[in-house]
């Protein structure tokens, strides 16, 4: 058994924070996949559940899906900016491919992504476990709640605004944080995350 040798030793050692090509492309494609999911989610959820609940302080309870890309992207790629970038890509797909909201959905994505990104930054980009995921989901939820109460529901009375933001945080924690973490763990089990630190948890086959 020999010591691992660097295949291309003439390249300067990369700082571990720098994004590799595979990081960029994976974050992009994950974001795009979620964007596609959003379109499917709209078709699935709007007619059945969303309509009665829309424009009420409980609306965010179903909106956790929109926050998933930020958490999943960050947990997979584990680089600074991953949460923000992945959420941005998901919003970009929504924007170009069928959202009636145009740029607005992109702006939503920016704030939601930032909400999660700030949490990971606060954790010095070292924590990528369930706790971090849940906190980041909550962070994205706060961002979503605050942004939407300012833009879409400015006339809401203060207690209702608080309920709205609270619902957003709850859904961020449970759906984006919890479910997101679970998703990444299941993905690791399939072996597709082999190029990432997040994929190293599986036993050798």
């Amino acid at each position: 058994m020999s010591n691992p040798t660097n295949v291309d030793s003439t390249r300067p050692a990369r700082p571990p924070r720098r994004w590799r090509t595979v990081d960029i492309v994976v974050a992009s494609v994950l974001g795009v996949a979620f964007g596609v999911l959003f379109a499917a989610w709209n078709n699935f959820v709007w007619p059945t559940i969303s309509a009665p609940l829309s424009a009420t302080p409980a609306t965010p309870l179903l909106a956790g899906v929109w926050l998933l890309p930020a958490v999943v992207g960050a947990l997979v790629v584990r680089k600074p900016g991953a949460a923000f970038y992945t959420e941005l890509l998901a919003a970009t797909v929504s924007m170009f491919f069928g959202s009636a909201w145009g740029l607005s959905v992109f702006m939503s994505g920016v704030w939601q992504g930032l909400g999660a990104e700030l949490v990971f930054a606060a954790l010095a980009y070292r924590r990528w476990g369930l706790g971090a995921a849940v906190l980041a989901g909550g962070g994205a939820g706060v961002a979503m709640g605050v942004y939407e109460t300012i833009v879409y529901y400015p006339a809401f009375d203060i207690p209702w605004k608080a309920t709205y933001i609270g619902s957003a945080i709850a859904t961020g924690i449970v759906v984006a944080g919890g479910l997101g973490w679970l998703l990444v763990r299941s993905l690791a089990g399939t072996g597709v995350l082999a190029s990432f630190a997040s994929g190293r948890t599986q036993a050798e086959i």
Partner: protein, 268 residues
């Protein structure tokens, strides 16, 4: 029957459609940002009227706009009602009462203003996107705003896969039906099925992504060499004029609102 809507095509030769994507986005964002500051009916009305005036200049037919934006219209109506019901301002005559939910003339006015505001913030953005080609946007971001090329073109390459992933999504649904799994009327089963499809789509997305990354690297992507541009994106006088016009409209809208006394700051 597609999961993704086909991007609407606008006439690329129209006066506004010809402009740089950055100019179009800036022109769409400016009024939106200003409108955030207050909830009143006047400023949004001015912006909305100007935007509707620009629709033919963007090379978008009214029919295409209606087809694309009807969910927005529906959402604005719902939103207005929601704001009207949950607002704190309950002055004026009571129109409807159900337990804690009260609808009065003043609340309806507040709701309507909120709805109009959302429409005025969103519509310029819709027009902007209808006239922007993602490739042009990526080029403009890299060449004019110095966005790192590897992120912009990495994103573009990912975007190209969107229709393929949408097709995968449909295949996943069919594969499940072929094995006897379908949502039917049971929402719990529907959610489980949806979650299963989400997982499978992400696995497929990861596989495509790793292959795409290898292909991009093989073509010299992110190899440290200075990158040139095959398609030039300019920002010229016409683009500056568009942004300036948008600024003028914004100032006019806010000015008119203040002058007529309708200006109602958000945080008051």
């Amino acid at each position: 029957m597609s999961v993704l809507a086909v991007p609407a095509v606008s006439d690329a030769g129209a006066p506004i459609a010809r402009r740089s994507p950055l100019a179009k986005i800036a022109a769409a964002l400016l009024p939106g940002l200003a409108l955030l500051a207050s909830i009143d009916p006047v400023a949004p009305a001015v912006v909305l009227a100007s935007t509707l005036f620009c629709v033919p200049l963007c090379g978008v037919t009214w029919r295409a706009l209606a087809r694309r934006a009807w969910p927005l219209a529906l959402a604005v109506v719902t939103l207005s009602l929601g704001n009207a019901v949950f607002t704190g301002r309950k002055g004026g005559a009571t129109l409807f009462e159900l337990g804690p939910l009260v609808l009065t003339t003043e609340s309806l006015g507040a709701g309507g203003a909120a709805g109009l505001r959302v429409a005025a913030i969103a519509l310029p953005g819709v027009l902007a996107i209808l006239t922007i080609d993602p490739v042009d946007l990526a080029d403009a971001l890299v060449q004019r705003l110095r966005v790192p090329a590897r992120f912009a073109y990495g994103a573009l390459a990912g975007l190209r896969l969107a229709p393929l992933l949408a097709a995968d999504w449909q295949t996943l649904g069919r594969a499940r039906r072929a094995r006897g799994l379908a949502a039917g009327a049971n929402p719990v089963r529907g959610v489980r099925l949806f979650a299963g499809k989400v997982f499978a789509l992400l696995v497929g997305a990861m596989r495509r992504a790793t292959r795409l990354a290898a292909a991009m690297e093989a073509r010299g992507f992110d190899s440290g060499q200075a990158r040139t541009a095959a398609r030039e994106q300019r920002f010229d006088g016409g683009d500056a004029a568009l942004v300036a016009a948008s600024a003028v409209v914004t100032v006019a809208a806010v000015g008119l609102s203040i002058v007529t006394g309708a200006w109602n700051p958000l945080l008051s």
